[in-house]
């Protein structure tokens, strides 16, 4: 038993370092605030530059015209790029969403075994692939085989990038649906496929839509895979098997031209792209995630935060 006298003795060994500890605490607090500032400043700068420079480029012509000849007086617009981005998104979703959702269904409903774990692991790996590698891969199997750059190739590459995001967010959303929903369905004699599609999937609807939208926001900004697959173009789409332009690709090309007008157009295209992406992100956050109170962590790791 440590008596009161012994306690007093032991307390003599306390070094009265409170002052120093409080100073360290203060310094850390200031450093940490500095870190926050270091993150906020670039974002503010990017937003500012994109807005002020980009707005200057905006006009109906800008949004609808083809780019003018390089260096000429008629600067034209980025119409084909906008069309291309929209087409690519549409087509990629056509390929990637069904496979992603079905794959997510597999992981959630049938995936509690070694095979499921394997798929999950490789899915995570695919999610973190450098996207340029996916572009090169698509170049090899599609562009070279078919012989031309095309919308198909671009969509295929983007669908691969979308796939892990949709699979994982689907899995997480389905897992959030309580087991009791499924049990109620089985108890009523409903077959499994119907239980999953009609009952569980519907209950998880907002989570699924969130995942898809985050995937769309992600692929709309991807440039690297497009370099190898769609070539870029100064004309509107001629067909799904021909080259097209896309917003991120056009931004890149414009940035390397030495003309002021090109620079302005680049900012303008950046403005359009960022507006689109932010709209999706903000929409998702406030409409879907808040309603569900879903775990942001898992969604972030696979969808919202790259």
């Amino acid at each position: 038993m440590i008596t009161i006298e012994q306690r007093a003795e032991f307390r003599k060994h306390f070094r009265y370092n409170i002052g120093r500890r409080l100073i360290v605490d203060k310094i850390i607090k200031i450093t940490v605030l500095g870190c926050v500032a270091l993150a906020v400043v670039p974002l503010a700068s990017i937003m500012y530059e994109v807005f002020t420079n980009g707005v200057a480029a905006l006009s109906v012509d800008f949004l609808t015209q083809v780019p003018g000849a390089v260096g000429s007086d008629e600067i034209g617009g980025i119409g084909p790029a906008i069309q291309g981005t929209l087409a690519l998104i549409g087509l990629s979703c056509l390929i990637g969403v069904p496979i992603g959702i079905l794959g997510g269904i597999f992981l959630s409903e049938y995936g509690n075994n070694k095979y499921g774990r394997t798929v999950r692991f490789f899915n995570d790996v695919l999610a973190e692939f450098p996207t340029i590698v996916i572009g090169v891969f698509t170049f090899v199997i599609i562009v070279i085989t078919i012989g031309s750059f095309s919308v198909w190739a671009g969509s295929f590459a983007l669908s691969i990038i979308m796939l892990p995001i949709i699979m994982r967010t689907t899995e997480e959303s389905l897992k959030l649906v309580p087991v009791t929903y499924r049990e109620a369905g089985y108890a009523l004699g409903i077959k499994r496929s119907v239980v999953v599609t009609r009952i569980v999937l519907t209950a998880a609807k907002s989570g699924l839509v969130t995942g898809i939208m985050l995937a769309v926001a992600r692929i709309s900004g991807e440039t690297a895979p497009l370099i190898f697959t769609i070539l870029g173009s100064s004309q509107f789409m001629t067909g799904l098997d021909g080259p097209i332009d896309a917003l991120p690709l056009r931004i890149w090309r414009l940035s390397s031209l030495p003309y002021d007008s090109a620079q302005t157009q680049g900012w303008g295209a950046a403005f359009i792209l960022i507006m689109m992406i932010f709209a999706i992100n903000i929409g998702v956050r406030y409409v879907f995630l808040r309603k569900r109170g879903t775990s942001m962590l898992k969604f972030k790791m696979f969808g919202g935060v790259r």
Partner: protein, 270 residues
């Protein structure tokens, strides 16, 4: 069915003999999120004795306990006014940073919460290293002394480097008590320390409290009235943020002076 008349609390003057008071709480008013949990309570706690705080859920006993070592103000939107005098010195005086006063009082929580990444030894020594003790022999001595006081020493003396989480629930709680005792506090606060434990572990803890009170002032919040009668010398009964009655445990349970107290200790509400 309850409480048509709320008799005035008979408790703000301690009904016990004028022995030595280790800790005196004066006019504590505590709230969080604009809910006033402790409405204006004054209590005196004797040294080398166990004081139990009992009362139904939500009566404010845990909030009051946490005011004693300045833990309540860590809750979001928490407000506290009043004084807490430890050996005459006001822990709420603005002259010193709360961290100094927190270490003068040890606290044990409802669920055992040892640091999972630390060994048994390091868990007990955690507070010591914080406060600047770095001589190994002193730390060894304190760790051994504290583990002996909580009846853990014989069980773990050869396994001090094992992780704290490798112990059973009851052992983990005793480890947490040792950790609190290691910083050499004069007062030990316990917030329902045995409520998450099985009966055997609970019994061990109660035996330990009965030993510890020979050298410490112990204040224990409990919802288990039998426990209060087993271990405590004095008891305070709280209800809806007020101190309704305070006195020797025997008197509170066998001869309560307040009608609400009587109803509670007879089990008419819980």
């Amino acid at each position: 069915m309850m409480m048509e008349t709320m008799k005035t609390p008979v408790a703000n003057v301690s009904s016990v003999d004028k022995g030595r008071y280790k800790l005196v709480a004066e006019n504590i008013i505590a709230s969080y999120d604009d809910i006033v949990a402790v409405k204006n309570i004054s209590m005196k706690f004797k040294d080398k004795a166990v004081t139990a705080l009992i009362g139904p859920s939500g009566c404010g006993k845990t909030t009051f306990l946490r005011c004693l070592n300045r833990m309540h103000e860590l809750t979001k939107n928490a407000k506290v006014t009043g004084k807490v005098l430890l050996d005459g010195e006001d822990l709420y005086s603005n002259a010193v940073d709360p961290i100094i006063n927190r270490r003068k009082i040890g606290m044990v929580f409802q669920k055992p919460n040892p640091f999972p990444t630390m060994s048994i030894y390091d868990n007990v020594a955690a507070g010591l290293k914080l406060n600047g003790i770095n001589k190994k022999n002193v730390i060894d001595e304190i760790v051994e002394g504290c583990l002996k006081m909580v009846y853990l020493w014989d069980e773990v003396k050869n396994d001090l480097k094992k992780p704290g989480m490798s112990l059973s629930g009851g052992q983990q709680q005793r480890l947490c008590i040792a950790r609190a005792l290691a910083i050499q506090p004069e007062v030990l606060l316990m917030d329902e320390p045995a409520s998450a434990l099985d009966p055997i572990a609970t019994q061990k803890i109660e035996e330990m409290i009965t030993e510890l009170k020979k050298e410490y002032a112990i204040i224990i919040v409990t919802h288990n009235m039998q426990q209060a009668t087993r271990v405590s010398d004095y008891t305070g009964f709280m209800y809806l943020g007020d101190l309704v009655e305070f006195g020797e445990t025997k008197q509170i349970f066998e001869n309560p002076r307040n009608e609400i107290t009587a109803k509670y200790v007879q089990g008419q509400f819980g």
